[in-house]
Subunit: 552 residues, 2 copies
Amino acid sequence: MASAYKQVPGRLETNRDQNGVIQPLLTDLYQITMAYAYWKCGKKDDIAVFDLFFRKNPFHGEFTIFAGLDECLKFLKTFRYSQTDIEYLKGVLSPTTEPEFFDYLLDISPKDIILYSIEEGTVVFPKVPLIRIEGPLPMAQLLETTLLTLVNYSSLVATNAARFRMAAGPEKSLLEFGLRRAQGPDGGLSASRYCYIGGFDGTSNVLAGKLFNIPVKGTHAHAYVTAFQSLEELKERHLRRKGTEESVDFIEIVKSWLHKLTNALGILQQETSEGELAAFASYALSFPDGFLALVDTYDVLKSGIPNFSAVALALNELGYRSVGVRLDSGDLAYLSMEVRRTFKQIASTFDVPWFTDQTIVASNDINEDTIHSLNSQGHSINAFGIGTHLVTCQRQPALGCVYKLVEVNKKPRIKLSEDVEKVTIPGGKALYRLYGSDGHALVDLIQRLEEAPPTVGRRVLCRHPFQEAKRAYVSPAKVESLYKIYWRDGEICQPLPTLEGVKQKAQQSLANIRQDHRRALNPTPYKVSVSDQLYNFMHELWLSNAPIGELS
Amino acid sequence: MASAYKQVPGRLETNRDQNGVIQPLLTDLYQITMAYAYWKCGKKDDIAVFDLFFRKNPFHGEFTIFAGLDECLKFLKTFRYSQTDIEYLKGVLSPTTEPEFFDYLLDISPKDIILYSIEEGTVVFPKVPLIRIEGPLPMAQLLETTLLTLVNYSSLVATNAARFRMAAGPEKSLLEFGLRRAQGPDGGLSASRYCYIGGFDGTSNVLAGKLFNIPVKGTHAHAYVTAFQSLEELKERHLRRKGTEESVDFIEIVKSWLHKLTNALGILQQETSEGELAAFASYALSFPDGFLALVDTYDVLKSGIPNFSAVALALNELGYRSVGVRLDSGDLAYLSMEVRRTFKQIASTFDVPWFTDQTIVASNDINEDTIHSLNSQGHSINAFGIGTHLVTCQRQPALGCVYKLVEVNKKPRIKLSEDVEKVTIPGGKALYRLYGSDGHALVDLIQRLEEAPPTVGRRVLCRHPFQEAKRAYVSPAKVESLYKIYWRDGEICQPLPTLEGVKQKAQQSLANIRQDHRRALNPTPYKVSVSDQLYNFMHELWLSNAPIGELS
């Protein structure tokens, strides 16, 4: 019956085609109009160099995790306008557009593009080109929007995830629960993928698990608890003693444990919710080996914890080990410590020492500051489930990567600006990370392509790109060249790591920068410098491009 | 060569299948574990009612535009687990999971679900269920995450767009330029679609244009300007006089106009950039009928405007009418007024009166407050291109819709909470919007299903859902019933509007609420009330569910 929004039958309402690849029309219109103008004025075979970079680290921090390269390369691999794309563009562009241009578009592909990139997962800094694109001007231009789209959010959310990881420390389990608060379906999928890269352990998003092999996690919602009112509702009451065929009335054991527990804890049994107990018991019957209960639907300490403990100890009696509890509201520092105290008391009263260490998951609107605050107050949380603040990157919901033309036909281009931070660094460039003898990165050094690379033990002058007096000699203990060619001759020409590999790269790369660059509060900026030769080159070009005014 | 992330060949790395529909595994794992537990404890045929609603309007505002329904219905229409989904879930769930459950999942579909909803595009308010789902408990539960994902961001960004529209006023043109700053590819596509609903006129996103028939707009980037250095580079210099076959050296005409203009404006010709002039001229040769130039690559007033004007007046000489300029940096209020003043001066000096009204587009990191500030300073901007702040909803990047169980097998459920705002309104409910005699909505009234609807001219008691003393009689001049059944018997059972229709609905619905609810600064909250019968029903249930403690 419904015709819904779309006006043309058979169109896919998706950014990807049937092979899951991103459609080349996922771009800004001006890329197409510029391509036409380049084509028309005789610049279609000009060879351009574009740099993709950002100007400011997100979240008041001093580092960024570079992510999204894998998707960029797949986009190049499948880049082709379809016949229906061309038909659509004919309707959009002016009727005066020459028909030969559409033949050109139908034929265009990134076969003559060369893509240099830093490795995905690497820690990166402002002004450093993450990706360099070389090739015919119109084709290189046509890649802009999609590459920015693929790098911007991926790097932003991976960086956010890495910050949560640092705040929580290496021991805590971090779970991404953000699907419902993401920018629609694919926002959620991207979030799951890149939070994993940034250091999360798993996601609630099942499709992300299926597509990317990310561990998926989850238990139950408040709705599950409120769906039950009494133990009488349970049609299934029996559980086998683990490893045997003996079937036991589980509910009776649960009841008897609740009685013992409320006595031991000095809680009135009438304050515990029977609906909640029924929900926990039925959930345990379904997942006897993985029982984790959401304990805050009613009162955490007077109902949730006694009910959970009754079910957990009943499971224990039949040979199963429960996992723990989840807190989704209230004062997480206080509650987690009270819950832990109760677990200890039960462990001691009933001689079940393992019970002390039941997992406590917290998941109520947690942001990076919440974790720092919990750390300073003290808490007993083992795992965090994080949604909204993680995936929306609330503190800064966009990374401002840009894509700037730096060379045409071997001639450097400079974009001048009143704001010196917005001046681009012209020409194709090489990039090195110089390390000190303690293994930490000291500085990133950008050079002209024709310069010899810096060498170990030999001092090299590193200059601030815009401030003449800021410069220092560095004698690197190690030199890492950061660019590789990932795409040439129409093919991906580097082995690409798995998602797991990118995740490891991110953690290693973070470990290689000093703690004071990484810390949350007032971090020290990491230095990005240019060689003396590049400094002089860009400043000469700057002068020769800047018009001379007259004071009047 | 590349194996990339995905571990299993042939998998689609997308949230949608080859028909563009959302995959049912785009959900949180706990929906599946809960479905198993419901199934196992004998609740699979329980009939549940869930409400989807939010608790707080976004952006410190007092209204929200409801969007995403069309996508929700399509999701229901195609909801089926595939064989590979089931295989994946077998690996994820505990090995003790009974195999019959997977047969049940393979067979499950929303055929017994009934979906009630408010019309897409309607202005809505906190606590009001936007969607009510009735049906078998596990199936109804399984819809939660995906419905939330589809409604949350859609409604958020449509509301944001509507706020920009109100700030800019009905006459200005509003263009969505956010693709590169969205949450990956589909975030961008969702943004384009729902900003259009919220009141935007077009997007730069070509794919959104192709898929949803949204007008697409765009001109050129700074890169286009920096790609040129001199007029000598242009291989094409000729343009036909409009409507004739006479081909003229366009560049010569441009040069002569630049000479006249710099003299008239008192600008040194050496301060204008020849590369910029070449870029504008070549762009005009490609789009003689749609020439709009980005004028801030060098100096707006000393280079961009004289260059643009030279090209525009050269076009005019050959019978073409230019469109205008875009400003992407600097003080937009000052620059737009200076540009307008210059246009007027040129119009008068060269007797081209139409030149005064050339379009001025502004597009530099604009948010809602920027527009309010420009309005109060005064400006001459005709159109805004808005990206980051629009699509990321920077001021509040997530809408907190929730999905709460309110009834099982005809028995109401109430979720209690220490925080009274989090208590749910139990049972299935009817919803009416009551209008005053001036045509504006007075109040939304939630009733129990069995109550008679309010009638025109007859006073009805409207009560605050939680505060006993807050109540008022209302005599509506018009009563609008807000729910329709959109899905029943496995089918969409309402004609769905076009995207254009939803957009109109949003504007009409906004016009029906009072200006003081809509305004940006300190808006008045709109009242959502319950009937006296519903009030008493929920408070009795509340009391009977709340355990009685003992003071000690």
